[in-house]
């Protein structure tokens, strides 16, 4: 790796200028739990690494009028220790918590997980389901982008060369809302999702779903936001017919590959099963129950 430069700017403007001024590949460093592995293996040969962690606020969580704003590089362990995020977005927290070991949790971030753009990224389906907004900064200023518009293909994002994510906005939670994330792996820890599923719902006073977002991971080249799954939930209570419709919609959305973690047929079947389980947890949480998913 001849000629690699590392820089840790303390302002957004400086970071953007550095990224814009790089003639070769420039990479943004948050926790580095993916980037350092890619550097070591030689898969990624950047000329410049811009470490964003010294930008004020990028490692913090704040509440603004019922909405939570999570700094892009905030480590998983910090998000998991945040009482407000646990209460409002238990699905996001449990999804982030599934990434790697305790050691990885000390570093891994939502922005890194999203921008690494793996279809199997654990926190990403939960972010999609939550309707989180990525605040993107770059040479043209600041723009707010729905998270599902960031990854475009495995390892690729819609961000321009001089752009990076500064923070994530989680919208205020209406009453009777809940979210959940489950992944299927053949063991209990430290593995990559065969399938992941995130669902967020809001219910009315009778338990009828009034709003829903649902997503699947590891069943397509990118994480999928699946409108047909939301449609199967909205206007219904979570009875057997609703669950069957949700299962069917999840399976229909799958476009997986065969690999060592699972076959097309297996992944498709598991997507339906996970969707049922995740919906039950999300509905229970929306009904005020404290449910431990993992």
């Amino acid at each position: 790796m001849p000629g690699l430069t590392y820089s840790a700017p303390t302002t957004v403007d400086d970071a953007v200028k550095l990224l814009a001024g790089s003639s070769g590949l420039a990479k943004v460093l948050s926790g580095g739990t993916d980037l350092l592995v890619q550097l070591r293996s030689g898969r990624m040969k950047p000329e410049l690494i811009v470490d964003t962690k010294k930008i004020p606020g990028i490692m913090d969580i704040r509440e603004e009028g019922g909405a939570f704003v999570v700094g892009a590089a905030t480590p998983g362990a910090v998000v998991e220790a945040h009482a407000g995020m646990n209460k409002a977005w238990p699905g996001v927290v449990e999804a982030l918590d599934l990434i790697g070991s305790t050691q990885v949790q000390g570093r891994c971030s939502l922005a890194g997980n999203l921008c690494n753009a793996s279809p199997a990224a654990d926190s990403v389906p939960a972010l999609y389901a939550a309707g989180a907004i990525a605040v993107v900064v770059g040479g043209k200023g600041r723009r707010e982008v729905p998270v599902e518009q960031i990854p475009t293909a495995p390892g690729r994002t819609s961000l321009a060369k001089d752009e990076f994510i500064l923070e994530f906005k989680f919208p205020p939670r209406p009453p009777r809302s809940g979210d959940a994330y489950l992944r299927f792996i053949p063991r209990t820890e430290m593995d990559i999702a065969v399938v992941g599923c995130g669902i967020s719902v809001t219910l009315d006073e009778k338990g009828v779903c009034t709003a829903a977002r649902a997503s699947l991971g590891a069943v397509a080249p990118t994480v999928l936001l699946v409108k047909e799954m939301s449609d199967a939930l909205i206007g219904h209570t979570l009875d057997d017919a609703t669950l069957a419709a949700l299962d069917k919609a999840a399976q229909a959305a799958c476009k997986p590959i065969n690999d060592k973690r699972g076959t097309i047929e297996y992944r498709t079947k598991v997507a339906g099963v996970l969707a049922r389980r995740v919906a039950k947890i999300a509905f229970d949480r929306a009904s005020g129950k404290t449910v431990k998913a993992h």
């Binding site: 790796m1 690699l4 590392y6 070991s101 050691q103």
Partner: protein
């Protein structure tokens, strides 16, 4: 690219070094600073043998750049004992013979200390999940967990 100057604290003492931007903290600790307690098992964040604390947070030093340690406080396995007095986790690893080849031991000592700092009274399940990122190919983990649980009891003043 010229080497970069880093000023940091390692095991409580001020340390300064020059390193290449792509050098990991693990490489710097072992090859530049000369602290070879932290081991390189996988160099990809999977095995935990290089575990260190940065400002009290448990991380894999193979997943941190050496330059990122600037202005931080790093604790390696060499900084766990207090002078000649072993930390209870180290003492209990010896008493329980919680190692065979010993390659994973430095990482497990650091990770176990971090666990007991964060949670003085862990259940066995909590201890096993916390240490899931520290791979040991010899012991089968049973003696390690016994040592950690025993060390926790000692630190709570419930055993000796």
């Amino acid at each position: 690219m010229a080497k970069q100057y880093v000023s940091t604290t390692i095991n409580g003492e001020t340390a300064e070094y020059l390193c290449e931007p792509q050098q990991t903290l693990l490489d710097v600790l072992r090859d530049v600073v000369g602290l070879t307690g932290s081991k390189e098992g996988c160099a990809s964040g999977d095995c935990g043998a290089c575990s260190v604390l940065i400002d009290g947070t448990l991380v894999c030093s193979c997943l941190v750049l050496g330059v990122e340690a600037d202005g931080k406080s790093v604790t390696t396995v060499e900084g766990i004992a207090q002078g000649e007095k072993l930390h209870p986790v180290q003492q209990k690893f010896l008493e329980h013979a919680a190692l065979q080849c010993g390659f994973c031991t430095p990482g497990l000592i650091v990770a176990s200390k971090a666990l007991l700092d964060a949670n003085p009274n862990p259940t066995e399940t909590e201890a096993r999940y916390w240490l899931a990122g520290n791979l040991c190919r010899c012991t089968g983990y049973d003696k390690i967990i016994r040592a950690v649980m025993d060390a926790a009891a000692v630190m709570r003043g419930e055993a000796s």
